[in-house]
Amino acid sequence: MPDLHEISLIVNGVVREVTVPARRLLSDCLRHDLGLTGTHVGCEHGVCGACTILLDGEPARSCLTLAVTAAGHEITTVEGLAGDDGPSAVQRAFRECHGLQCGFCTPGFLCTATALLRENPAPTDEEVVEGLSGNLCRCTGYQNIVKSVHRAAELLAEES
């Protein structure tokens, strides 16, 4: 039996202590050990982007990160995007523009778009498409997702 590792992760601003085998993927740690099932697991080899979370503020595949590697780092999942006063601007924009249908890929898109707009508050169409290119959606055809990101940029600009 391989050794277990006691690690602490700062998830959505809260320090969480957890004991995991070294091979535990961060995606499984978040879902199974910490009960944060908002992070979805699609392909488990880095293609679909559904499991994208923010690792120290930058989007990363949680299925391609070991929980032990992330020890001591700050993680934001889709559960951590909303503020005390409700859904974030990106979440509201996705709702307003129908940026989702079945919703499976949405947590990954929300995390990716949140970081994208933080780095580039007024992206062009091309920059949005490039920024989201690592996330797959089988429902929407992407048009409304791109619209949502532009709308989120407007909302963020209005609120700042």
Binding site: P2, H45, A60, R61, C63, L64, T112
Partner: protein, 279 residues
């Protein structure tokens, strides 16, 4: 789709990392960005007994200008190298290639040196190192060696890195005077591994005539295929034919050998034309 069990090591210094690697030898595997290794673990295509996670090793993430080029540390992520002003001014081909490496989110974690050691014949960065004649610095306990790109890429997914060694950095030579570069590729979907791709380096003399022209081709051999086409320059069509004669593509589910050869010819002409215009 979960990694098989392994013993986990998380050294915090290069000395510790090298000591662990010496101890575990051929049973150990280095984990840096994990964007190639963890898929291999998840799919059980790799099952190392020991994983040596170097993410906590201090001092490995430097990206520094050196005389004659730029040195990239083992923990420098693609995204950081893409943003580096030192890299941009020393060698634009690195940035031209990085834009084609997977997706931005993957580039946040994946490392340049990791991609070199992984030695995927479809990957862009090995072609860049091979075309420029760069090198990889391999360290083991008490010693280190620099391996030239031409000796580093041994075969598909096989580099010259030996058990017990850690690739601590890679050196990319700077762009020469009046030299232009380009990297073009064709992939089935944006961000996928390329069915074919060509990096080009063209140098001009003071009168603007082509002095040297070389390409490196990906996805058409066991390792990046470097072809000197100075003799054909500036007839890039003839150069493209010479490149097509040199490569040995194999067909697979993504593209037939003939199609890869055709694409490589088209891309070679395009890359050489762009690089010459850029010089």
């Amino acid at each position: 789709m979960k990694p098989p069990p392994f013993d986990y090591h998380a050294p915090t210094s290069i000395e510790q990392a090298l000591a662990v690697l010496a101890e575990v030898g051929a049973h150990g595997k280095v984990l840096a960005g994990g964007q190639s290794l963890i898929p291999l673990l998840n799919m059980r295509l790799a099952a190392p007994d020991h994983l040596v996670d170097i993410n906590r090793v201090a001092g490995l993430d430097a990206v520094e200008a050196e005389p004659g080029g730029v040195r990239v540390g083992a923990l420098a992520r693609h995204a950081a190298v893409e943003r580096s002003a030192a890299v941009r001014s020393a060698q634009p081909l690195i940035g031209q290639a990085l834009r084609l490496v997977a997706h931005p989110v993957i580039r946040n974690r994946g490392t340049v040196v990791g991609s070199l050691v992984h030695a995927d014949p479809s990957a862009e960065l090995p072609a860049v190192l091979a075309l420029l004649g760069g090198s990889v610095r391999l360290a083991r306990v008490d010693t280190e060696r620099d391996v030239a790109a031409e000796d580093f890429f041994v075969g598909p997914l096989e580099s010259a890195t030996e058990p017990g060694e850690l690739a601590v950095s890679a050196f990319f030579p700077a762009l020469g005077r009046r030299t232009g570069t380009a990297f073009v590729e064709v992939a089935r979907r944006h961000g996928d591994f390329a069915m074919a791709g060509v990096a080009a380096l063209v140098g001009l003399d003071d009168e603007g005539a082509v002095m040297s022209a070389r390409v490196a081709c990906i996805s058409v051999g066991p390792a990046p295929v470097v072809v000197d086409v100075s003799a054909q320059a500036p007839d890039w069509k003839a150069a493209a034919r010479a490149v097509q004669d040199r490569i040995e593509p194999e067909g697979d589910i993504h593209a037939t050998a003939d199609y890869r050869r055709h694409l490589t010819g088209v891309l070679a002409e395009r890359a050489l034309t762009q690089a010459a215009a850029d010089a």
